[in-house]
């Protein structure tokens, strides 16, 4: 059961970020192969950086070709049905938020499996959630979303801390996972909808 949930979360996160990467690349008017590559790095970027930092190599997507196929099919379907989807910005944003919640949890859990301290696990979760988007934005030559805008990494960090708090109060792991994913995704959506932001530095 535990393992099934984890797989389901990883698959959903992979699909979400593949869609988000495809939309971002189409907005920049890349050709289909460029779009595929951006979909790919958005989807596997966070997990790859996490595995490299942990020394867990060859990295995950090399050991399981199914993730690559999943991204390929998702990205191609997204490109094919793009005309049916009018509001790109909203779509991109929703899938980005969902992927953020899903992958943050995957990263936190992997840190726990490696026996790292809670603070480092939260950092790993944040890296897994955020780095796909950071690499996507860096390659497309924009200041990464994470640094420009509303509470982004903050959502991951708070979600990671919430997960440890829930486990501390003996909540069932599967329930805690779903709560944390819902928390991160909802926080992102609420923050953007009401234009909440941390105050910035101005001189």
């Amino acid at each position: 059961m535990e393992i099934t949930t984890t797989y389901a979360i990883e698959i959903l996160g992979t699909i979400s970020f593949a869609i988000s990467g495809t939309f971002a690349a189409m907005q920049k008017r890349l050709d289909p192969f460029g779009v595929l590559i951006i979909a790919f790095v958005t989807s596997i970027g966070g997990g790859t950086v996490r595995d490299l930092l942990l020394g867990d190599t060859p990295v995950a997507w090399m050991r399981n070709v199914n993730y690559c196929l999943l991204i390929l099919v998702t990205s191609m379907l997204t490109m094919f049905f793009k005309t049916q989807i009018k509001k790109f910005k909203v779509t991109l944003f929703l899938f980005d938020s969902l992927g953020l919640g899903l992958f943050t949890l995957v990263g936190v859990q992997k840190g726990i499996v490696f026996g790292l301290e809670p603070g480092i696990c939260v950092a790993l979760g944040t890296i897994t959630g955020c780095f796909g988007g950071i690499i996507r934005d860096t390659l497309l030559n924009t200041i990464p979303l994470i640094f420009r805008k509303e509470i982004y990494a903050t959502a991951c960090i708070l979600g990671g801390i919430l997960y440890f708090a829930l486990l501390y109060f003996n909540l069932k792991a599967d329930v805690a996972k779903i709560l944390v994913i819902a928390f991160i995704t909802t926080l992102r959506i609420v923050v953007v909808k009401y234009k909440l932001a941390l105050p910035k530095f101005g001189y």
Copy 2:
């Protein structure tokens, strides 16, 4: 014989990308040390990312100081003789194309040695071929060539597939290698000469 060919290919690829990096950096008007660093990352970037993903560390150039010396000498000679070479753009382009073909093959072969599936080997070849240029362009703060322009990664992917097809039909490995390198390099040159491109996404 097998091993000799592999070494020759790696050496040629290293030289090609060192020259291509040197030209790109001189065009951006960096100082000689900046040029050396860009030559270095262009030349070893792809192989380094490949080795990191595989967990084959310390990465290749740390184990063999000769590659570093080769890049140093190549880059310095290129800087020294730059006045003799008028058509920078063409030169940069030709060496970039040749390096692309050579390094793609090196990456595919390393994947085979690590016993990975053909699809992953093709991805490794593409990474080895393309990442030096991606890092070069990211550091020089331009959208990487690979995402802006003509069929680039596509050439690596098609070349990688061709290699497995040739091996499947029992072609001698050395002949297959030369064919694949020629295929990728020629495809790039033809594509740019006739301005072929995949259709882009427009809204």
Copy 3:
């Protein structure tokens, strides 16, 4: 004694780069969490790339949560007392120079511990010193300082060579370390103060 000096150098370097990263991010008007992340990557970026290339994983900051706490506290104090500090540019620059000297030495020493050749050790020192700043500037979407301006990586390379020269003449290691740190930091400051630069390529 030897180990104590090494720790002191790493701690000072971490603080220097955390301050430098905090100032750079505040200048770009990021929100406090964005500032923390930039402070973090500036501080641990060089060492992380070094450890990845060596295959010494999980990377250093994951094994010792104290470095993360040190960066957190340093960055928060810097943000808090920013109004007291008028001349941001000078402050950023001085701490960047000091961090450069400290981290270059840390990298060279780690290369020696791993039994690598002197030339590779100097490269590792340069990577440890420079990559934090390169990642910082790349994420903030500017051409990295290292490629735009005055002798930067050059100071690391010359400092690394000086270290091996001093050891060759049987200088005590601790004295050699302090001399090299002073050399790199001073060279950076002199170079910028008198606007020394290597000649650039112009067409």
